[in-house]
Point group: C2
Chain length 343, copies 2
């Protein structure tokens, strides 16, 4: 029996996500927050390990709905945004359209589910290439369009006007992935939700100090949520993640203080990186900075030799590296190592 032959064609040609752990002293590769909410872990002690989680995540939805000023039936919880992408594609099918470069999971999951992918390169300003996207929408009628704004790995927000043009032109669902929105000076799309029935907003707690929990959520019209909820596994978010997230979200002040600290550190880091000759910096509204060097592989290795792990994007964006904003001390060490590495 040849197992390979039994596997769906689209899956067989996928490569498993490379998640090899690279030993390092300072980890600035995964857009994690440098600040945890470890106080929130206290509530773990009160969990009954033998009982299934609340399948509706009622308490979590209550806290989120109140915070966002929306109805609870406009929310859907996921085991990270990744799982919500899976559910959206399961619910609506393809084609799935997204710009490139962007968050890799849109394409990986579309392929895992055997759906057609339509990839459209960003324009030279790293904004949405509306001149190519609108005709593609007309011709291919994508069921789903994923727009990460601020975009990973470029860091910029797409222009609101272009996103709205896409939403208005599409007969499918448009998901604005706001994973990095908390770090942005822009307001995000929540206020526009009432005007567009095909708009879905995706958010996550992973970038704001709670990556360990795996908690993402969708915000959309109740009729969209109800459909996606049909393919949701009943107990997809476990008891610990629910309880700890609720506890952390109740410490809103702390949460905002961390975000503010990261943003001001980002601005300082950006300013200092700009002084390094030969380095091209891309404007950022996220908790990371994309930058271009002469030889990304060489600089990546030089940084790693000093114990500093960044993301090498050279396969996706020529000669680019991505550094996550860390603590002041971490950023200082990164800057020092970068200067020593030479560009």
């Amino acid at each position: 029996m040849d197992i390979k032959k039994l596997v769906k064609k689209e899956v067989s040609s996928l490569r498993a996500y490379n998640a090899r752990e690279i030993p390092c002293r300072i980890k600035l590769d995964a857009n994690e927050s440098p600040y945890g909410f470890n106080r929130a872990l206290r509530v773990a002690a009160g969990i009954s390990t033998n009982r299934y989680p609340d399948p509706e995540a009622g308490e979590l939805k209550k806290v989120l709905a109140k915070d966002l000023g929306i109805r609870q039936d406009m929310l859907l919880q996921g085991n990270g945004s990744d799982e919500l992408i899976y559910y959206l594609i399961s619910t609506f099918g393809g084609p799935v359209l997204y710009p490139t470069p962007t968050f890799s999971m849109y394409g990986i999951i579309a392929q895992a589910l055997g759906e057609k992918k339509i990839e459209i390169a960003l324009d030279s300003e790293l904004d949405l290439d509306i001149g190519k996207i609108l005709p593609a929408i007309k011709k291919e009628r994508p069921k789903l369009i994923f727009l990460s704004s601020p975009n990973n790995p470029t860091g910029n927000c797409f222009s609101t006007g272009r996103i709205l043009e896409i939403i208005e032109s599409s007969r499918g669902i448009v998901i604005v992935d706001e994973a990095y929105q908390p770090f942005s000076s822009e307001k995000g799309f929540l206020p526009l939700l009432k005007d567009y029935r095909n708009l879905v907003i995706m958010r996550t707690l992973s970038k704001i100090g709670l990556a360990a929990l795996r908690l993402g959520y969708l915000i959309a019209a109740p009729e969209i949520i109800a459909e996606v909820n049909k393919v949701r596994l009943p107990f997809n978010v476990n008891s610990l993640s629910q309880a700890i997230a609720v506890s952390a979200l109740r410490e809103k002040k702390q949460l905002i203080a961390h975000i503010k600290a990261i943003c001001s550190e980002r601005d300082l880091l950006f300013r200092d990186m700009r002084k390094i000759e030969g380095l091209t910096l891309f404007p950022t509204e996220a908790n990371f900075i994309l930058f271009k060097v002469n030889d990304a592989d060489r600089v990546y290795s030089a940084l790693l030799k000093k114990g500093i792990l960044v993301r090498n994007l050279s396969e996706t964006v020529k000669d680019c590296l991505r550094v996550t904003v860390g603590t002041p001390a971490e950023n200082k060490a990164f800057l020092k190592a970068l200067r020593q590495a030479g560009i």
Copy 2:
């Protein structure tokens, strides 16, 4: 825009899992263990909430592999078995064959993923109806066959000979779901894994005291694991579940003591239920007992009035209820309420 029309046909006709919480004093409806491992929660305090989980679940696999006497590359971790069913069907596609009645998620997930379902009723002894399954395999060539043994909700193990006949006749993958195997007097299929390349064993920690964590795993040949791993979301099992599971699994003695206690309580409960006139009992190798009464809806309500929640299966198995084995005190209260309810 009509959202309903955008949704995949198969999904649109699905109903969301009814997970309404029913208030009760004694919860015997969900095949949970009455005994938790709350001591294992201590390790939660050591988690860094801001860091992503280990995508490979290395420590967990190490502990499981050692315990099972297998190689680590024969294991795949899931956010509960539910997620592993999703992954298996994503990887291999359909048709998906399973007997009925059985665990409902095989059919729900196959439908969510738009794959053909082949349902074959159990025979009058609640065993696999080999006379119908073998011709169906020949005709329909299912890519996946799910066999829950011990079976939920019937409680019995299917005959090993019949399962082997199915494995030998199938050119697809056969998954033996051993969620309830720890409570069975039979050995399970692990020793047979080396003889059958298309055999996959699925297990879970949910029935043995850790339902809150959502942790299931597959055991299979490395070449099967490698393919399914391609559709696995990189961070599907969160940091807390990994750490707490490792901690609990290291307390093997405690784990086994709980299982033994549940099995002997089950045998006592079975013996006592047998004395109740008019009640039909089905033999069980699991942590629950299926029983038939004259009017399941009435008995269900009568029990609930006393604060005791069991599972009403009357929609699936005519006039049957399913009771999970609880603590001695819970079982006593259940028996008393059942006697008072009358059959």
